[in-house]
């Protein structure tokens, strides 16, 4: 866990490139998947909030999973959903207070952000650096500024 995912809403222009990057990265059988990141209207002019899983410490999705399909990856710090173990009871989808555990209706699977296993595609594609994947020291500096 030597990197942090940094979201800076003030820099987001709502171009939705992250959505596309996420969708294509998480394609199943060459059919693009459900996006895990949502640039949403922040309520005032030109303000967009990229809503993405916050990887909570005491996560409601992990607590709600009755079959332990959700586990934290100690390498990336992301909570990952094991598709093989998931029984699609929708408990995590209903329990997540931020709506970041969701149903991929096309493939009929539950999905959530797994930080692409330690190299988030959305951060690569974000043209304004509203989404960044930074080593811890620059991330701290970024957060402080």
């Amino acid at each position: 866990m030597n990197h942090r995912f940094i979201v800076t809403p003030n820099l987001c222009t709502g171009c939705r490139t992250c959505e596309l990057a996420c969708s294509f990265t998480h394609a199943v059988d060459n059919v693009r998947g459900q996006t895990r990141i949502f640039p949403l209207d922040g309520g005032s002019k030109d303000l967009w909030i990229p809503v993405v899983c916050l990887q909570c410490d005491d996560a409601a999705c992990v607590k709600s999973c009755l079959v332990d399909a959700l586990r934290r990856n100690p390498g990336t710090g992301a909570i990952e959903l094991n598709q093989e173990v998931c029984v699609k009871c929708m408990a995590c989808v209903a329990a997540c207070p931020f709506g970041c555990s969701l149903l991929d209706q096309q493939h009929n699977i539950v999905v959530k952000c797994d930080l692409c296993g330690g190299d988030p595609a959305c951060a690569h594609f974000c043209p304004t650096k509203a989404l960044q994947w930074l080593p811890i020291a620059p991330a701290r500096a970024r957060a402080a500024s």
Binding site: P9, N10, F38, L40, D41, G42, G43, S44, L47, I49, V51, A60, K63, S64, L66, V67, A69, N82, E84, V85, C86, V87, K88, C89, M90, A91, V93, A94, A95, C96, P97, F98, G99, C100, S101, L102, L103
Partner: protein, 258 residues
């Protein structure tokens, strides 16, 4: 760590793992209907049968259900040997005779070249292969609402005394994971009906979308310490709420900076 050979390829596996999990991880397509990683292996459908042998067995081999066979050092596995395919064909043939209208079985049998059964078909056969996956998942979820009932011809999956199960919370895990989509449920006017029990579906108080059943939400909040108000809104409205809240903070931040 143990080393074994699957279809001529040397693979590594950790001790205590079952063969099928290793085979699936190697992206080898072995059919299995009763298997799910969330529950203990059961070996009901027998379709995951593979041929195993060892160097010291001198050409002798054994046919085992890979979901129940623990990996071991020096094991030589063949997942699609001619004899294994014959065994699978026979199993699918029997399945086809018992469940002639089951599309999942027809499809799988077709892949193995079985289009017509050699055996006498059961005329009023249903689509339940009695693998018990639904009951095992229900147990794993901690509800124990359904189980296999009866013996022989009368065996079926049912709630206790064939009445509406008091322990069922309507989570639909049984229906979602049934390999033949046999378990029926109905969603109508905010009511979910499964195993002859009616459940009230919670609706999002912003957009009105139906989410999970009230019983399931109560179970989660009581057993898993999820605050009950988390279930008031649907996932999309949760995201909008988060965006609005963060938007207020960001707008305030902007004002301060100006």
């Amino acid at each position: 760590m143990v080393r074994l050979t699957i279809n001529g390829r040397v693979v590594q596996a950790s001790e205590g793992e079952m063969l099928l999990s290793v085979i699936r991880r190697e992206n080898i397509d072995v059919p299995a209907m009763c298997h799910h990683e969330a529950v203990e292996p059961f070996g009901a459908c027998r379709l995951c049968v593979v041929e195993i042998t060892r160097q010291e067995w001198d050409g002798w081999c054994d046919y085992v259900t890979s979901c129940l066979y623990p990996v071991a050092d020096g094991l030589i596995v063949n997942t699609h040997a001619p004899k294994v395919n014959e065994l699978r064909k026979t199993i699918l043939d029997l399945f086809l005779a018992r469940h002639p209208k089951c599309t999942e079985i027809i499809e799988l049998a077709g892949e193995y070249g079985v289009t017509r059964t050699r055996y006498e078909t059961v005329v009023d056969g249903d689509n339940c292969i009695l693998c018990g996956l639904c009951a095992r998942i229900c147990d794993r979820m901690g509800f124990h609402a359904i189980s296999t009932v009866g013996r022989g011809h009368g065996k079926e999956i049912a709630p206790p005394l064939r009445q509406a199960p008091p322990d069922c919370t309507g989570c639909l895990s049984c229906a979602m994971n049934c390999p033949t989509n046999f378990i029926e449920y109905k969603v109508k006017k905010g009511l979910l009906t499964i195993w002859d029990k009616k459940f009230e579906l919670l609706t999002c108080n912003k957009c009105g979308k139906e989410t999970i059943t009230r019983e399931f939400a109560v179970h989660l909040s009581e057993q898993r310490n999820i605050p009950p108000n988390y279930f008031d809104t649907c996932d999309a409205c949760h995201r909008n709420e988060l965006a609005a809240a963060m938007g207020r903070i960001a707008a305030w931040d902007r004002e301060v900076q100006l």
